[in-house]
Every structure is written in C-alpha cells, then in structure tokens.
C-alpha cells in the first residue's frame, strides 16, 4: 500500500466497514506508518468522545396545544404554529446575539417574545436546564441504578458480557451484599475487544485498585476517558482526562493512570492527576501498557511494572527509587502494598529471569524475602494476585497458574501462605481471582472452570476453614467474572 489509506482507516472504525483484505492492508500499513497509526488512534479517541453521553437534562414541559383552547389541533395547524413559533424564537435569539439582524428586523424580534410565553410558560426545570451544573457533569449509565445506601460488607465483581456479533463487550460492575440482600448491578458500559491490533484495551479493570478509599466511588477508564462512578447512585462523571488502567491513591487525593504517547505508540507514560480532575502530571515512561500502578499507603510512592522489571517511583519527583529485576506477573494483579509490615507482597516472573516468586518486603527499601517459589523457566507455576488478610497480618492469599508454552494458562489454584512461617497451603479450589472478606473469616473467589472462559464462571464465598461455601452469583453462557474486590462500609 503506497499511499496513506486515510479513508480506509476511517472505514475501519466500522465493524464491517472493510473487507478482510482491506483490513489486513490497513493493519500492515499502520505497523509501518506512525502518522497513520496516530490518525487511527485519534479516530478511536474521537469515537470515544462522541460516545460519551450528554448530561441528562430534563426537557421543558411538553407544549400542549390545548392551551389554545381548541383541544388537539389538526396536523396542519399544529405544524404551522410550531414552524412559525420556532422560526420566530430562532430569529429572536439570533437577533439578540447578532446586532446586524437585530437592527434589520427589530419588530420581528420584539414580536416573537410574547409568542414564546403564549405557548408554554417557563418553568424552573426549563430555566435550570440551560445553566451549567455546579456539580461535575453526570453521564447517564447504560445500565444499573446504583446501590442506594452503602452499609455493611460488600463484594464487588466485574462481569464480562461479550457480544456475539461485534468486537465489543459489556462490562458490568455488580455489588454483592454479604449480610443480606441480592446482588445488584451498579454500573455497565461497553468496551472494545478487537480492532486496531496495536490498541491496548482496558476492558477488564482490576477493581481493587480502582476504589476510592471510602469505597463509595470507583474510577474506570471508559472509552479511554477516566470516569468516576458513584456507587450509591450509579451515576458517573468524566474526570476530563484521557487514560487507562487507573488506580486511586489510598489517601484519596490522586489517581495514577497510564496513557499511550500520541506519537510513540509503543511508549506508555505513568501520570497522576488530582481525584477531582485538573491537569495531569507525567512521572515517566513505564513501557508496559496494561498494568495499573500500586500506591504506597501514604500516597508518596508508586510501584509500576515495566518490561525491564518493577520500579518504585517517587510521586513528587518521578524519580525511580528502586528497580526489581523481576517482571511483574499475573496481569494487573501482581502486588499489594499495605501499611502493616511486611508492607509489600510482590509476584514476579520471567522465562529468562530466574524463578517465579512471591516475595515480601517490609517496606519499599527493605530486602525482598521469598515467600513462595513457583519454579524456573517457561514451564512453571505463575503467581498472581497476592492479597494480605486484613485480620491476620501474616497471611497472604494468591493464585498459582501453570504456564506451559503454547497452551493457555491452566490450574488456577488458590493458596494461602503464612509469611511468618513460610508455610503455604492449597485451599483446594480453582480460582481466577480471590479476596478476603474484611473480617478475614472468609475468602471470596471467582471460580475458574476449565476451558469455559478466560475468567471465572461464578462468585463463591467460602469460610476460611473451608467448612462452608455458597455461590453468590453465577455467569451464564459466555459471560464471565474477571475481578473481585471487598469493601466494608
């Protein structure tokens, strides 16, 4: 393909806009043409902007023809009145803002005003609808109506609902009350699953890092825009920042996120922005576009994954304070950082980087202590998603998966390890991801059925001792659960 295929790139935004041959040509061209790649990304961003919901504004009261005292008017009369009035209103408004027209047609502009009040008296709703909202603009939710009052212990899970015909899926955030009540859909939105090969999709958010510290809000990247979801109401608002893989600082003040550099698609910048919006500040290039950063408890440091290892970054300066050689394992869920020592549980791996391990560190500068060794080489057990027990400072929960080259990961065994003794035990269930309840008495996990989907098929609550187990929510068809978090209110 010699020329830049701008038109084809535009058509490629449509699911069936191109033939297979044309799509292959575009894909090949994008690999070698940064300009076209940037244009494709621009179109993707623009589609996201165009998809963002207009703030929901109450329409003014319906103009009822019966105000004229003749009941429902015939079509011709109603249309004539509507056209005359709308035209008059339009001219009046335009006259108010255009001196030339105002001078040319003063009588028309003046006579239009009484007509507007004759049709329908102004109401508070109509008046307020034209004013900018003092609150950040809400975005209508595609589904879900929030949780209402937030009390007690809740689990939150992300559900992935793929489309049968389009390269997209619906992501649903569900709230599961643990004391009483039934699971509730909090919020839902559409995500892409295919398209531009180079694109990175933040379409299965790692929920734990994305809650505000009080658990009342969630930050998501929706169509590339950082979006705050209020769990009580299910309403959302845009932060005004383009980014993916956000994580909310534990003091609530900031949100860290990743953003691809516009002219360097392979580079990803780690940035922070105030949790109420504003201008983001770039801390540096991290190189891996698909893992959110983990905040230190005091909000001064971030732990971010890169292709060359895992870095501890000072938020104030962007300086790398420490670099671990091991590449973070387990997708987004490679580390948890808490205030109690040992503070960090960090999973790392690499075919050519030594053994797969789960390590503990008392703090960001302390030496790493191996808790679990998954073996060496490419045929090994991977370690993912370590989570400290909130009620027992030495216990950590994690998942091991068997990695064999050329096959999908399998196994997904849930384990609990005591960092004080180094003893680990297999819980005896297959789990894609798991968390503790806030009293540490139970484990909730996404049950991983072999060869069903890439993620979990059910949400199960199991007592710490394993004596009781109950299913809280089950996915149907190709639906699956991809992330779980525990919140106490």
């Amino acid at each position: 393909m010699k020329s830049h295929p701008r038109e084809l790139i535009e058509l490629a935004r449509e699911p069936d806009g191109l033939s297979a041959t044309e799509r292959a040509q575009v894909t090949e061209h994008l690999r070698s043409c940064p300009t076209c790649g940037a244009y494709a990304e621009e179109l993707e961003r623009n589609d996201a902007l165009l998809s963002l919901r207009e703030p929901r504004v109450a329409p003014p009261p319906m103009r009822r023809p019966s105000r004229f005292g003749i009941g429902w008017m015939p079509l011709a009369t109603a249309t004539l009145v509507a056209v005359v009035v709308v035209t008059a209103l339009g001219i009046a408004r335009e006259a108010a803002t255009n001196p030339a027209l105002s001078q040319a047609s003063p009588s028309l502009a003046a006579s239009a005003t009484p007509s507007s009040s004759a049709l329908g008296s102004p109401t508070p709703a109509a008046t307020s609808s034209a004013s900018p909202s003092p609150d950040p603009t809400p975005v209508a939710t595609p589904g879900g109506s929030g949780l209402g009052t937030l009390r007690g212990n809740w689990l939150f899970v992300g559900k992935f609902v793929p489309s049968e015909t389009l390269p997209q899926a619906q992501v649903e955030i569900w709230g599961l009350p643990l004391e009483s009540g039934t699971p509730k859909l909090v919020f839902a939105y559409t995500v892409g699953t295919a398209g531009i090969p180079e694109a990175t999709f933040d379409n299965t958010p790692y929920l734990r890092r994305q809650f505000s510290p009080d658990g009342t809000k969630l930050v998501l990247s929706i169509r590339g825009q950082l979006t705050i979801v209020d769990l009580a109401s299910g309403q959302s608002r845009l932060l005004g920042v383009t980014g993916k893989f956000p994580s909310w600082s534990k003091d609530g003040s900031q949100i860290a996120f990743l953003a691809e550099k516009p002219v360097q698609p392979s580079q990803v910048a780690l940035s922070v922005v105030s949790a109420v919006g504003g201008t983001p500040r770039e801390l540096g290039i991290v190189g891996v576009p698909s893992r959110s950063a983990e905040w230190s408890p005091d909000g001064s440091l971030l732990l971010a994954s890169s292709q060359n290892g895992t870095a501890v970054i000072e938020v104030a300066s962007g300086r790398v304070l420490r670099q671990f050689a091991a590449v973070a394992g387990g997708g987004a869920s490679y580390v948890q950082w808490r205030a109690t020592q040992p503070q960090l549980a960090l999973a790392g791996y690499g075919c050519d980087r030594g053994n797969v391990t789960l390590v503990a560190l008392d703090d960001a500068q302390a030496p790493a202590r191996t808790l679990f060794d998954g073996g060496a080489g490419c045929d090994r057990a991977d370690v993912r998603d370590p989570r400290w027990n909130p009620a027992n400072p030495t216990e950590v929960l994690f998942v091991t998966t068997q990695m064999t080259p050329g096959t999908m990961p399998f196994g997904y065994r849930l384990r609990i390890l005591d960092a004080a003794t180094g003893q680990s035990s297999d819980v005896g269930v297959n789990a894609y991801e798991a968390t503790w309840t806030w009293d540490g008495a139970s484990v909730a996990y996404l049950a991983k059925a072999p060869a069903v989907t890439a993620y979990g098929s059910a949400v199960i609550l199991r007592s710490r001792a394993g004596s009781t187990e109950r299913e809280l929510l089950r996915a149907s068809g190709d639906d699956s659960f991809f992330s779980i978090a525990s919140v106490a209110y």
């Binding site: 701008r6 535009e10 058509l11 935004r13 449509e14 806009g17 244009y39 621009e42 179109l43 623009n46 589609d47 902007l49 165009l50 998809s51 963002l52 919901r53 207009e54 703030p55 929901r56 504004v57 109450a58 329409p59 003014p60 319906m62 103009r63 023809p65 019966s66 429902w72 008017m73 015939p74 079509l75 011709a76 109603a78 249309t79 009145v81 509507a82 709308v86 035209t87 209103l89 339009g90 408004r93 335009e94 803002t97 255009n98 027209l101 109509a126 609808s129 034209a130 004013s131 900018p132 950040p136 603009t137 209508a140 608002r237 845009l238 932060l239 005004g240 920042v241 919006g277 504003g278």
Partner: protein, 175 residues
C-alpha cells in the same frame, strides 16, 4: 374510506393527550440529549424536541410500538431539515452552552458539540445516531430513508471532518 385508512384514523384518535404525555416523559430526555449533541445547542434542541413532537402528534399513523426508533427518526429528520432552512441565514449563533465558566468535562463536551456544529448536519446527525445512541447502520438508513452504503460513507466522512474540526477547536484555533 378504505379499511387501512380507517385503521390509521383510529390509531390517531386513540392517541390521547395522556399517551403523548407519557411518550414525552419516557423519551423526551433521550431525544433532547440526542438533539443537543447533534445540533450543539440546548435551546435549539428544546425547540426541535417540541417540533418533533408536534410532527409526531400530527402524524397520520400514530405512534408505533416501540415508539423510540420512530421518534428518533422524526427528530433526526427535523434536525437535518432545520439545518437546511437555517443555512439561509448564513451565520451561527452562540449557544447558551457556551456561556459561563466550564469545568473540565464541560469544556470537552462543548468542544465535541462545537466540532459537530461545524460539520455538515447530516454527518453530525448520523455520527450521533451511531455513536451516541447506538443505532445500527441499517436502523439509521431506515430512519433517514437512505441506504446503508450512504450511511457508511457518511460516517467515514463525518469522522474525517469531526477529527479536523475537533483538532482545530481543541488547539484553540477555532470555536
């Protein structure tokens, strides 16, 4: 009067004021959001919403079930035909949306509206129906009484024009 015409008459007369009120309540907010996005002007959108319902009430068929696609069809055509009339005036008024200070989202949303205002209305309406409202190309083609290829082409040109307009506005060169 043949039987088909009689049915239409019954459908029309059966649509009471309360029926239209319910439809307005159910679909008015979505239609207003659509019209605001497609025209970039809230006040104009409110006018066009009323214009759309005036046409709906005056239709010879009454509201079908479901009414949503039908109402969007009317609103989309009202928006496009209004633009054709409006071009005779050859100037663009400032919208109420542009007044006052705007927070970060308002600024971005206003840039989107401004960019849509500056591209051909049929493209703005088509982009909005597809991306804001989620209608398929086939549904849009039926609404705008054209074919899917035209809609596909309109979406491609609309994306191109929107990209150029948004770039200009976002960089402070227009709007």
């Amino acid at each position: 009067m043949n039987s088909r015409k009689a049915q239409k008459t019954i459908a029309t007369t059966a649509a009471s004021e309360s029926d239209w009120g319910a439809l307005y309540e159910a679909h008015g907010p979505d239609l207003l959001a659509f019209l605001r996005r497609a025209t970039g002007d809230l006040s104009l959108a409110e006018d066009l919403l009323h214009d759309s319902f005036a046409r709906a009430i005056g239709s010879s068929t009454g509201a079908p079930d479901p009414a949503r696609p039908w109402l969007f069809r009317i609103a989309a055509n009202v928006a496009i035909s209004h633009h054709r009339r409006r071009r005779l005036f050859a100037f663009v008024s400032l919208s109420a949306d542009q007044a006052g200070s705007l927070d970060a989202y308002d600024t971005e949303a206003e840039h989107v509206r401004a960019a849509l205002r500056s591209i051909p209305r049929d493209q703005a309406v088509t982009l909005t129906l597809a991306l804001h409202e989620g209608f398929t190309r086939r549904e849009i083609a039926e609404m705008l009484q054209t074919n899917e290829e035209t809609i596909k082409s309109r979406l491609a040109r609309g994306r191109q024009n929107f990209a150029a307009a948004y770039r200009r506005i976002d960089r402070g060169l227009a709007g």
